[in-house]
Symmetry: C2
Subunit: 282 residues, 2 copies
């Protein structure tokens, strides 16, 4: 493990741990990232990760044509490791002229780093597959600004999540739900969220803010394929009072059941277990 916490890092294909201080990723957060879980030397759901990255490039107008090279780099870093996390950062590239305006001829910067799979620790950073005794969740006071042009993307502008994580410790919670500036429930800080009430399973739309997670996609597809599609819609904070079950999703946690919502104990592993079983069966 290197000084920066990674096992190995490639910057534009070359072993390195530094980027230019003039990179637009640093100057403006002008880029995207993906966090890819790798098991038995294989990146999981790589197609979905790269698809989202490509969609992000289109939305930001980032001309990235080295997808095959990136694919190869991710595989080479994960090779031979039982479990690791490969993080990809793709920025618009070097800012040769000061100012927000992209020149259009920038060559994207590709940063691929390999990390140990996190051990049990604070919050939801736990060992893989371990169902923790009880995730406590509440509602963060840090809200998400709405911007349909950026919504769904895993872009590098993540100060809202940083502030929410920072506030989490004071709340004695493992995770927190984040609402939009308009007051809708959108997601957890580092995960998407699914809710179950008497009418079934539903998850917040991420067309105004939030990230369209790969595991969220897999859960939605699994449910639809099983003939019981999950409703994607706007979710109000008031609805949380009627929620019977809740689970968080991201590629590292899979489907992680929440035990306490605002101090109220929820049903454990009802719909989450059913969906988990369906996913492992396919």
């Amino acid at each position: 493990v290197q000084e920066d916490g990674s096992i190995a890092t490639l910057v534009n294909g070359v072993a390195s741990t530094v980027v230019s201080a003039a990179d637009r990723g640093l100057q403006y957060g002008d880029g995207l990232f993906e966090t890819i879980t790798c098991v038995d030397g294989e990146p999981r759901w790589l197609g979905l990760h790269l698809q989202r990255l490509q969609r992000g490039c289109e939305r930001l107008g980032l001309r990235f044509d080295a997808l095959e090279t990136l694919h190869h780099e991710i595989c080479s870093l994960s090779q031979g490791r039982a479990r690791c996390i490969v993080k990809v950062i793709l920025t618009r590239g070097l800012a040769t002229v000061r100012g927000y305006r992209p020149m259009g001829n920038e060559a994207p910067t590709r940063i691929v780093s390999c990390h140990d799979w996190p051990q049990a620790g604070p919050g939801l950073v736990r060992a893989p597959g371990v169902q923790t005794p009880g995730i406590r969740i509440g509602v963060s006071e840090v809200r998400l600004g709405e911007n349909p042009l950026l919504a769904g993307l895993k872009h590098l502008n993540r100060l809202e999540q940083v502030l929410a994580q920072r506030a989490l410790g004071d709340l004695g919670l493992d995770e927190a739900l984040m609402c939009s500036s308009a007051g809708s429930v959108i997601c957890a800080i580092s995960a998407n969220v699914f809710l179950v009430d008497d009418n079934g399973v539903f998850t917040p739309a991420v067309d105004l803010c939030g990230i369209a997670g790969v595991m969220r996609r897999l859960v939605l597809d699994t449910a639809a394929a099983a003939g019981r599609p999950i409703t994607v819609r706007s979710v109000s904070v008031d609805e949380l009072a009627y929620v019977k079950e809740m689970f968080l999703t991201n590629v590292r946690l899979g489907l992680q059941t929440v035990r306490w919502l605002n101090g109220r104990e929820l049903r454990q592993d009802g719909e989450a277990r059913r969906l988990r079983d369906l996913m492992y069966a396919t």
Copy 2:
């Protein structure tokens, strides 16, 4: 001039053009910046720039105690140059553990770079002091997400400005007004905005989004000291139809009169000239 477009760059006090790829500034846009204009070897309004930077540190919980060192670095880079721009980026520092959560013990990264004063070029990037024949402005379709916790700060999450600048070329405009997601006029892409109608001068509040610019502060203070305070309030898009005069402010442009607003010709240099004269007189 170096490959990255800067004349010289100091990273944590050392001549360098690179930062760690694991820096939280790159990973999450977890940091702040200042763009300081220097004339005759002297940084202008440095106190106000450093004050805003410090306020930003407090808001983000960034423990920065090298303000004097930073002050010295800015002065040393500007020394001996007739005109230059010194850009400061201050990030939370290295992410030694993956994830949004700051550990609290990060040592901030300090990047101070010196740049040529921009020559006349596209948009508002023009030579110093040159009153261009006519700035054309319209309303950008890219809106600003609202977040009171980040509003006013010059933080590193600037994708909205990047997208707005990217869209500008297609519109045949020099600059564009940006509205909040709720539809209020907030600022121009790279400047604050002041408007004049029959009732006087006003400027949008920046408590939900937008940057509290140093030149905006100077204009507000100058007007107040002259006994004719400028109103700071919420501004609707509909009001633009009644605007008789408009000027943009940032430390590089000073007070830049707009000639065409949505294709309609505006009064030139009424209140803007009066305020400019007041500022130069003090």
